[in-house]
Amino acid sequence: MNSFEYTRPVDVVDALCQIAADPTAKFIAGGTNLIDLMKENVARPSRLIDITRLPLGKIEETRDGGLRIGALVANSDLAYDPRIEARYPLLGSAILAGASQQLRNMASTGGNLLQRTRCLYFYDTSTPCNKREPGTGCSAIGGINRMHAILGTSEHCIATHPSDMCVALAALDARVLATGTDGQRSIAFDEFHRLPGDSPQIDTNLRADEIITAIELPPKGFAKNYTYLKIRDRLSYAFALVSVAVGLDIEGDSIKGARLALGGVAHKPWRDREAEAQLSGASPTRDSFVRAAETLLRRARGFGHNDFKIELARRAIVRALGQAARGTPQSQADKRVK
């Protein structure tokens, strides 16, 4: 690890002043990803601004009947919060599908959004990587790319976003509250993360002088018909090959509204409004699910080793929609996929 200076801001304004004064500084909260990147010499901050003692650790009701989750709430505390378990079980399930309990105890809500890709070339400083060093090229295209993206890729980067929690937040239409030196703003979750395009070094639309203070959940939690289905190389403590978050609004035998988000397949949690619109008004049958999967994957493209992800995603979407429609969400402890 490179040497760095360590400071503890007294409040959010102090934290923002410190980050604005030093573009090579970084905020640190859980540190589960940043410290690892520093050990690998991928991140070399001159200063770590420890925000863990700032008052951003509460979960509160919002006036419209939703929840506001402070940026410093630990992933495990969020997953096990009784309000999340009762009203947003999709979010709790996705969190518990990710990482290990030790990491969930450490990792913060805000930091989960800002974690970097686990693309091995991004981590390996001896190889070209446009995300790590813009303009050097992408080693994954034409390289070992089994874990890589099949949707929304560019000729510059085919990395995936590694989070499970974010896939559920995307499906739930969460909003990200950010504070900068010029005030606060609320960012739709779908607009928070970026596709790689020609600037894969920039993961999110958060500005360098801003800090995430909270995530807001709208009232609708899809607590009755949901699932988070994660397919990975081992049964726990591994990143997704493909994951599917589903929330359905079912009345009688027809789907009134559908949310469908995928993880492990793109540079950001992947949603497709056309596939969701197709489900809306349809009956919850296998045929409808297959059609939605085909729509969502219509522009999917493999890069060799990850070609299998297209068929895997198709099957996972169909399976997950069935689990949600039946009201039998995937257990994160009993790993049998039903």
Binding site: E5, Y6, D36, Q102
Partner: protein
């Protein structure tokens, strides 16, 4: 106590090596003062500065669980934790679990169930299991397996590790916990 420097340094020019900092940790009930560089991990602080070598360095990247300790009662990876960030915290390591010459029930159960071969992952497994029990979220062997997945055992002692934890959690005697 770390200080927040109000006058942010300009990014131009060479930076002096940041000063060491004084950190207080309450390790296994004893107050310990350390003067360490900010990039010292909690794992290195325990092993190299406090000579508590029970906590193991496996991967050093948060992928194996050998470095698991309890901070303020919660299990975490000490290899991905900066010691300065835990200033004032209570830290429990494998050395702090026994009461005098009486082993912690998990230590005793690991012996009774032969829940180890080489033993390198064992301090992390036991600290993790202590955290698991304190969390109170595991009600079955499936839950134990899932919530212990952050601790890798390359000898493959998993069935006996789960049996040892079941014994402590559910009072199962050796032999009863077979699936």
């Amino acid at each position: 106590m770390a200080q927040s420097s109000s006058a942010a340094r300009k990014s131009s020019g060479r930076r002096p090596t940041p000063a060491k900092m004084t950190v207080t940790l309450h390790v296994n009930g004893i107050e310990r003062r350390l003067v360490i560089a900010p990039w010292t991990t909690l794992l290195d602080a325990l092993r190299l500065h406090l000579d508590l070598t029970g906590t193991k360095k496996g991967c050093d990247h948060g992928q194996c669980g050998a470095c698991t300790v309890l901070v303020d009662g919660r299990r975490i990876y000490s290899c991905l934790t900066l010691a300065v960030m835990k200033d004032g915290a209570q830290v429990t390591t494998i050395e702090g679990l026994a009461q005098g010459s009486t082993l912690h029930p998990l230590q005793q159960a690991f012996i009774e169930h032969d829940a180890l071969q080489c033993g390198y992952c064992t301090p992390g497994q036991i600290c993790s299991a202590a955290g698991l029990i304190a969390e109170g979220k595991a009600g079955s062997a499936d839950d134990i397996r899932e919530l212990m997945s952050g601790n890798i055992c390359r000898c493959g002692a998993y069935p006996n590790i789960v049996a040892a934890i079941e014994q402590v959690m559910f009072g199962k005697a050796p032999g009863e916990a077979k699936r």
